[in-house]
């Protein structure tokens, strides 16, 4: 089954790296098909940026989003820009300290994690993206935790493996405090 997702934040948070890791985990370590494309241009530094990932059991033809099922937002700007395009029954994950929640019609699941705060507690704010990947892995089940951990270790600088593994586990174990239901969820 084809699943389309977007990771968004601002330049410097490792948003593109996060998309790369998800794609690599799915394609190389889980044996599925995956593509990753990125918003490429001046927006890649300091302002809104995003990566688009498609995961499928079959070869992927169209490598861009048509129906976004999952959004991971690490900035308010990215949340505001892309949340309205999440499909009905989609999943919206966000950093609760960076994004002020606002309901989006039709989205069924909103779940939040203090990814950046956790990263700060671990000593390096730069691993917030990896914490989000841990949370993403636990909440969506799209990629196996084993594949994700391998992909993370293959993609981060030497000597930071333990820090990044801890960041992943912190996000993976996080129990979201509340599940907010979108207005159109019919409950």
């Amino acid at each position: 089954m084809r699943t389309e997702l977007r990771v968004t934040g601002f330049g410097g948070q490792g948003i593109i790296l996060a998309g790369y890791i998800i794609g690599k985990a799915a394609a190389v370590y889980d044996g599925k098909h995956a593509t990753m494309v990125q918003a490429y241009g001046p927006e890649a530094r300091g302002s809104a940026c995003s990566s688009q990932v498609i995961i499928d059991d079959k070869p992927i033809q169209y490598p861009y989003l048509r129906k976004m099922q999952v959004l991971c937002a690490l900035s308010q700007e990215g949340y505001d820009k892309f949340a309205p395009f999440v499909e009905k029954d989609g999943i919206l994950l966000y950093d609760e300290d960076l994004v002020e929640f606002s309901a989006v019609p039709d989205v069924r699941i909103f779940r939040s994690v203090p990814a950046t705060r956790y990263a700060e507690e671990l000593g390096r704010v730069m691993v917030a993206n990896i914490t989000m990947l841990g949370f993403f892995t636990a909440q969506t089940g799209l990629v196996s935790p084993e594949a994700m951990k391998k992909a993370i270790l293959s993609a981060v600088p030497k000597g930071t493996g333990e820090l990044n593994t801890n960041a992943f586990e912190r996000g993976f174990q996080h129990q979201p405090a509340e599940v907010k239901l979108g207005a159109g969820a019919g409950v």
Partner: protein, 384 residues
């Protein structure tokens, strides 16, 4: 050291990186280039990797010098490569012609962006497809391969080197920004499973050797500089010794041979993919990133009961005329050619298909790939 040139294994990488890795796996050990978006990642990868495998990377002063540098490196006996995009491609055109005239094997990667001029540096185009055929002055034939995925960027970079060595000319790898910047799985096989065509050197002694006397396949065996042969290599019209002869009696056979060595071998060079062509009433013809969108549309049409087939061009040049003619003669209702330009390869389809079968270009001047819906609309025009 040389083992490290082939990164055997499964990777998640971009088309740009894969094209560079394909070059290295083919034995490329010289890269002369000038960075330009969206081809910069090819250059960066080569700058990092070539010194690791005993090769040479030079960032040249511009693209004209880059093209000449790879021609010179090739004559020194080293497989060589460069990469660029629109504006740099225009600058390379004259010296590409020098490569054609001197019959110099090398590979030139063009990661196409939107033009004219500086146009859209970061966004996709497929607007140089006719330029690669006609952009340099004079008569000649070219070979241009068009990958639709990072895996093919790797595979076709190797194949481009093989063809360049076999037919002695600079071969184009005509990518586009979307394939160049897209990440996907790339499987790099063990080095001993990669088939390489090596340069055909003369077996004759210095004195007996005529550098531009062709073999039966119209391709002359080569030497490399420094091996003791006296060779004159020039862009001027030359005889079999390589010396300038400013006469029609020399020029006509030379240029005819340069054209014929590709034309008469075209049936061996053509590469394309067929999907659902057996019973197709409408045939999509596409290449590069657009082939993926077209294939998506074809699958959706088939699910809908529409008899749509897909001919995906791998070699855009030489253009597979025989295949288009066969389909036209069989009576398909039309050809649909989506491409990220205002009609370039569609001109070739139209030329070969003739007046009896309509060719419909789905134009897009660049900046984004086609939306599947735009191509569906063209299908509906043919199948009412």
């Amino acid at each position: 050291m040389s083992d490290h040139a082939v990164l055997t294994g499964e990777h998640f990488m971009t088309g740009d990186e894969a094209a560079a890795e394909g070059g290295l796996a083919a034995g490329c050990r010289f890269f002369g280039g000038y960075p330009i978006t969206p081809a910069t990642e090819v250059t960066e990868r080569m700058a990092e990797r070539l010194p690791e495998v005993g090769g040479v990377f030079i960032q040249m002063e511009d693209e004209m010098a880059s093209m000449n540098a790879i021609l010179g490196a090739s004559w020194a006996g080293v497989k060589s490569m460069s990469s660029t995009s629109g504006p740099g491609f225009s600058l390379m055109m004259e010296n590409f012609g020098l490569g054609i005239m001197t019959e110099t094997p090398c590979v030139l990667v063009n990661v196409q962006r939107g033009g004219p001029s500086t146009g859209l540096p970061t966004l996709v185009g497929q607007q140089d497809m006719q330029q690669c055929k006609w952009g340099s002055h004079g008569d000649f034939e070219v070979i241009a391969l068009s990958p639709s995925s990072p895996q093919e960027a790797f595979d076709f970079a190797i194949h481009a080197f093989n063809l360049s060595e076999q037919y002695r000319l600079p071969v184009f790898l005509m990518m586009d920004e979307s394939v160049g910047h897209m990440f996907e799985k790339v499987v790099i096989p063990p080095a001993d499973q990669i088939k390489l065509v090596e340069r055909r050197y003369t077996t004759k002694k210095p004195g007996d050797y005529l550098p531009f006397l062709p073999d039966e396949d119209l391709v002359p065996p080569m030497i490399k500089f420094g091996d003791g042969y006296r060779v004159h290599v020039t862009g001027l019209t030359h005889d079999e010794k390589g010396y300038p002869v400013m006469e029609q009696s020399c020029h006509h056979p030379l240029v005819t041979r340069l054209v014929d060595k590709i034309k008469k071998n075209a049936h061996k060079i053509y590469m394309y993919d067929e999907h659902y062509l057996d019973d197709a009433e409408v045939v999509m013809v596409s290449y590069g990133i657009t082939a993926r969108i077209a294939q998506q549309v074809v699958e959706e049409c088939r699910a809908d009961g529409k008899k749509v087939g897909h001919l995906r061009l791998i070699t855009c040049w030489p253009f597979p005329e025989a295949k288009i003619r066969e389909l036209a003669d069989r009576g398909v209702k039309g050809f649909i050619v989506p491409e990220i330009n205002l009609g370039q390869m569609s001109l070739e389809v139209e030329r070969v298909a003739g007046r009896g079968v309509p060719t419909i270009c789905v134009p897009n001047a660049g900046g984004a790939v086609h939306k599947p819906e735009e191509i569906h609309a063209a299908v509906r025009e043919v199948i009412k």
